[in-house]
C-alpha cells in the first residue's frame, strides 16, 4: 500500500532514538502478550477494504481479510487480538514506541523495512493491476510507452507513495501521475474520465471492481511483491510464532478460505506455497520443521471457500442513522479534546505572556524560545514527539493525555502572543496608578492589568478556540479517532455515501462551533460595555 508520507520524520526520530540507545525492546513481546492475554495489532481502517474496514451491516464492527488473519494468528499464539487504530504511515513508529506488537496492514516487503524491523514470511503475494475505463483506448502496457494519439501524456492516478507510483516512474516520458490519499479516489476519477487509468494493488483492484462497473482490468498484473508482518527489532520469538501460524493457516487451507471470501485468491498465491515448502525465504527452515506435518494439504485443492453470508443491505436511512451515531460519538471526542486542552492553553499562555512582559531576563529568554519553537514547528510533529519519541526516553504517555498535552502546549504559544498584545494595549498609566496606590506588581497585574487585557483578547481567543475544534483532527496521528478521522474512515470505505457523510460531518462541526461564536459575542458585548474609556 502506501509508503510513509512522513517517512523522513520517522526516519529522523528513529535515528534519534537509535542514537540515544533506547531502541531495544524492554521485554519479549510474545511473553508480554501472553502475560497480558492479548497481542496488540496495529493497522489503519482508513486504508480500507479489503484489509480492514467497517462492516457495511454494522459500521462499528471491523472486518477484512487482515482482521480474520489477525484472529487466526493470535488464536494460534493462545492470546486475544487487540486492534490498535493508527495512521498507516505511522505504524512503524507505533511499533518502535511499543504501542503495538505487530504491524500487518498491507505492508510490503522492502529492504529498508526488513533492516529496521523483524520480518515474517509473506502472507500474500500482490501485484499491480492496471485499471482503465471500459470506453478508453488502453489495452496493453505497450501502448503506454508512446504518447496519446493527441500527443499528450497518459493521465494516471495512484495512491500517494505506493509501489504503483514507483513503478510508473519508469514511464515518466509518456505517463503523468497524480497522487491521491485514498485508493478509491483515483478509481472514481478514471470512471468520470478525468484520468485515463489507475494502477492498484491486486487485492484492492479485485475488491473494488464491483463498486466501479465502468472500469476494466487491462493485461495481467505486473511487479509482484509480498505483504509481510513486521515486529519490533529483537522480537524474534514473536515472528517465529507468526511464521508458524502463517504456515499452519496455509497448510490447513484457512488462508485460502479467507482470501477467497474477499475475492483475493489468485494463481500468484501459489508462490506462497513454494516459499513455505522450500523454506527458502528468510531462512524459515526451523519454522517449517516445527509445523505440524498433517497440515500439509495441497492448498490448491483446499476446502472451497465458504460463501459469505448474504445479509440484506441496510437501507439508506438505516445507514444514515448508523453514520450519525458513529460521527456523533467521534464528535464527542473532538469536544472533549478541545474543552480540556483549551482552558489549559489559556492558563499556560497567560503565565507565559506575563512572564515575558514583566518577568526578569532569565525568565523572558526561555519563554521567548518556548513560544518561537512551538509556533515554528507543526502541531503534528509535536504530537509525534510526545507519543513516539518520549517512550524512548522512558516516558510513555497514552494517546488521550498526549493529545491534550500536545494541543495545550501548542496553543499556549499562540494564546500567550494574543495575551501579550492585549497586555501591551493597556496604557502604562494603569500599572503606575495601581503601583502608586501601594499595590505590588503581581497584584496590579492580577487585579488591574489582566482583567482589562482579558476583555480585549476575547475575540481572538474565541477565534482560536473554534480553530482548535478543527485542529483536533491532527490528533489522529497519535491514534485518536475524532470527527474528521471517523469521517475519513467511513468515507474511504463507503464511497457511494460520500455526500451524506460530508453533510453530517459538516453539520456536526457547525453545531460545535456556532454556539461558541454566539457565546463569545455575548461575553464580548457584556464586558465590552464596561471597558470603553
Amino acid at each position: 500500500m502506501r509508503r510513509a508520507a512522513l517517512a523522513h520524520v520517522f526516519a529522523f526520530l528513529l535515528y534519534l532514538s537509535g542514537a540515544l540507545g533506547g531502541v531495544a525492546a524492554a521485554e519479549d513481546a510474545l511473553e508480554a502478550a501472553r502475560a497480558r492475554g492479548a497481542l496488540r495489532w496495529g493497522a489503519d481502517q482508513e486504508g480500507g477494504a479489503p484489509f480492514i474496514y467497517p462492516s457495511e451491516q454494522d459500521q462499528s464492527v471491523l472486518i477484512g481479510f487482515e482482521v480474520e488473519m489477525a484472529e487466526n494468528l493470535t488464536r494460534a499464539l493462545g492470546v486475544k487480538v487487540e486492534f490498535q487504530q493508527s495512521q498507516w504511515d505511522a505504524l512503524p513508529s507505533m511499533l518502535q514506541a511499543n504501542k503495538v506488537d505487530l504491524i500487518m496492514n498491507g505492508y510490503e516487503w522492502m529492504p529498508d523495512r526488513v533492516a529496521a524491523m523483524e520480518t515474517s514470511i509473506p502472507y500474500y503475494v500482490y501485484a499491480l493491476q492496471l485499471m482503465v475505463n471500459k470506453e478508453g483506448p488502453i489495452q496493453t502496457w505497450e501502448q503506454l510507452r508512446s504518447l496519446k494519439p493527441d500527443g499528450s501524456k497518459w493521465r494516471f492516478g495512484v495512491l500517494s507513495g505506493s509501489a504503483a507510483e514507483e513503478y510508473l516512474a519508469d514511464f515518466a516520458a509518456t505517463v503523468q501521475t497524480a497522487s491521491y490519499d485514498g485508493v478509491t479516489d483515483s478509481m472514481r476519477e478514471v470512471e468520470t474520465g478525468k484520468l485515463d487509468a489507475t494502477l492498484q494493488d491486486t487485492p484492492i483492484a479485485n475488491f473494488y471492481q464491483k463498486d466501479f462497473p465502468r472500469l476494466r482490468f487491462a493485461e495481467a498484473p505486473v511487479a509482484e511483491g509480498y505483504y509481510v508482518v513486521y515486529a519490533r527489532k529483537g522480537d524474534k520469538a514473536l515472528i517465529a510464532a507468526v511464521n508458524d501460524a502463517i504456515i499452519g493457516m496455509y497448510r490447513s487451507g484457512e488462508l485460502k478460505r479467507i482470501y477467497s471470501r474477499y475475492g483475493m485468491w489468485d494463481d500468484q498465491q501459489k508462490v506462497l506455497g513454494a516459499i513455505i515448502d522450500s523454506g527458502r525465504f528468510y531462512n524459515v527452515a526451523a519454522a517449517l520443521e516445527a509445523a505440524p506435518a498433517e497440515a500439509s494439504a495441497d492448498p490448491a485443492t483446499g476446502a472451497p471457500a465458504a460463501a459469505p453470508v448474504e445479509e440484506a443491505p441496510p437501507t439508506a436511512t438505516e445507514k444514515a442513522i448508523e453514520y450519525a451515531k458513529l460521527l456523533s460519538a467521534a464528535a464527542g471526542m473532538t469536544v472533549a479534546l478541545s474543552a480540556i486542552s483549551f482552558p489549559l492553553a489559556i492558563g499556560l499562555g497567560l503565565l507565559i505572556a506575563v512572564g515575558r512582559l514583566y518577568g526578569p531576563t532569565w525568565v523572558r529568554m526561555p519563554l521567548t524560545a518556548y513560544v518561537e519553537f512551538l509556533r515554528g514547528t507543526p502541531l503534528m510533529l509535536q504530537l509525534y514527539f510526545i507519543f513516539y519519541f518520549l517512550p524512548e526516553l522512558g516516558l510513555t504517555i497514552p494517546a488521550f493525555p498526549t493529545a491534550i498535552i500536545g494541543l495545550a502546549i501548542n496553543y499556549s504559544a499562540y494564546e500567550s502572543e494574543i495575551y501579550r498584545a492585549g497586555l501591551q494595549a493597556i496604557p502604562p498609566g494603569q500599572m503606575e496608578a495601581a503601583l502608586s496606590l501601594g499595590m505590588s506588581k503581581p497584584m496590579a497585574l492580577r487585579r488591574i492589568i489582566v482583567p482589562q487585557a482579558f476583555r480585549i483578547v476575547i475575540p481572538p481567543v474565541v477565534n482560536d478556540f473554534i480553530a482548535m475544534f478543527k485542529d483536533t483532527s491532527v490528533c489522529s496521528v497519535v491514534t485518536i479517532v475524532e470527527l474528521t478521522k471517523r469521517f475519513s474512515v467511513l468515507s474511504r470505505n463507503n464511497v457511494s455515501d460520500l455526500v451524506v457523510l460530508m453533510g453530517l460531518t459538516g453539520l456536526l462541526y457547525l453545531l460545535m462551533s456556532y454556539p461558541m461564536s454566539l457565546l463569545a459575542r455575548r461575553i464580548e458585548k457584556q464586558l465590552g460595555n464596561e471597558v470603553r474609556v
Binding site: 526578569p360 502608586s436 501601594g438 505590588s440 482589562q452 464596561e530
Partner: protein
C-alpha cells in the same frame, strides 16, 4: 516629612535632575512651577518610586530611597513609600473596568485588607467631599474629565496617605473643569493635607501653596513663599518664565 537631598536623575546620557534638594514639612503645600522639560514631573515620579534615581536620596519619614534601591528587590520598601505618598496623574488613570466606588475601595481592600464595608463607607464620605457621591455606581467612562480627576483624588485619599503628589492635575482639563479640581485641592490644603503640586496655574500656586519652587533645566533655581517668588523673583529664569506664563 519629605526631605530630598541632591537628587540626580538621568535618562541615558541626559541629565534630567541635576542635584535637587527640597524639603516639605508636614501639613505644608509645595508648588513646583517652571518651563516644560524642567524636570518637574520626573521629580514627582522619583519621590513616588516610579523612577529609579542615580544620585542623592529621598527621605520619607523613616523610609529612604537611594540610587541602589532596586524596584524588584526592594518592592516591599517601594510599597511602603507609596502607601504613605499618594499620586494623582495628569491623565487621571482611573481603572476603566471598575466602578467609581470600586476604584476607591480596590486598594484599601486588596492592599490593606480592610473590610469592604469600612472601605466603602470611607469612600462614600470622600466622594461626597469631592461632590461625586451620586456617581458612586457609575463607570469612569461616563464621567467628564474634571469628574474623573476628582474621583482620582478621592481614590488617592482613600488610602489615607500622609502626602499627596499632584502631577499637573488640571493640564488635561478645560478651565471650568480645572476650576472644580483646583477647588478640591484647595480644600485639602485648608485641611492641612501635605501635598506637592506640579502646576501651570500661577494663581493656584500663589493663593494655595506655602512654598513655591521654580524648576528649570534640572535645577531648583529659586524657591520661597509665593508672595516673594511671584512678587520679587530673583532669578532671570523665573522672571522670564513668569512673563511667559502671564501672557497666557
Amino acid at each position: 516629612m519629605i526631605v530630598v537631598q541632591n537628587l540626580v536623575k538621568r535618562h541615558g546620557a541626559q541629565d534630567i535632575l541635576k542635584g535637587i534638594s527640597l524639603t516639605v514639612e508636614k501639613g505644608e503645600v509645595a508648588a513646583i512651577i517652571g518651563p516644560s522639560g524642567g524636570g518637574k514631573s520626573t521629580f514627582l515620579r522619583c519621590v513616588n518610586g516610579l523612577e529609579r534615581i542615580q544620585g542623592g536620596s529621598i527621605q520619607i519619614g523613616d523610609l529612604r530611597l537611594l540610587p541602589e534601591t532596586d524596584p524588584s528587590r526592594d518592592s516591599a520598601l517601594l510599597q511602603q513609600v507609596r502607601k504613605r505618598v499618594g499620586f494623582v496623574f495628569q491623565q487621571f488613570n482611573l481603572f476603566p473596568h471598575l466602578s467609581v466606588l470600586e476604584n476607591l475601595t480596590e486598594a484599601p481592600v486588596q492592599v490593606n485588607g480592610e473590610p469592604r464595608e469600612q472601605a466603602e463607607a470611607r469612600a462614600m464620605t470622600l466622594l461626597k467631599r469631592v461632590g461625586l457621591d451620586a456617581k458612586a455606581k457609575a463607570w469612569p467612562r461616563d464621567l467628564s474629565g474634571g469628574q474623573q480627576q476628582r474621583v482620582a483624588i478621592a481614590r488617592t485619599l482613600c488610602m489615607q496617605p500622609e502626602c499627596i503628589l499632584f502631577d499637573e492635575p488640571t493640564s488635561a482639563l478645560d478651565p471650568v473643569m480645572a476650576g472644580e479640581v483646583l477647588k478640591v485641592i484647595g480644600d485639602l490644603a485648608e485641611a492641612r493635607q501635605t501635598m506637592i503640586v506640579v502646576t501651570h496655574s500661577m494663581s493656584f500656586a500663589r493663593e494655595v501653596c506655602d512654598h513655591v519652587h521654580v524648576f528649570a533645566g534640572g535645577h531648583d533655581v529659586e524657591h520661597g513663599p509665593p508672595a516673594r517668588v511671584f512678587g520679587d523673583p530673583q532669578h532671570a529664569t523665573t522672571r522670564s518664565f513668569l512673563r511667559e506664563a502671564g501672557r497666557d
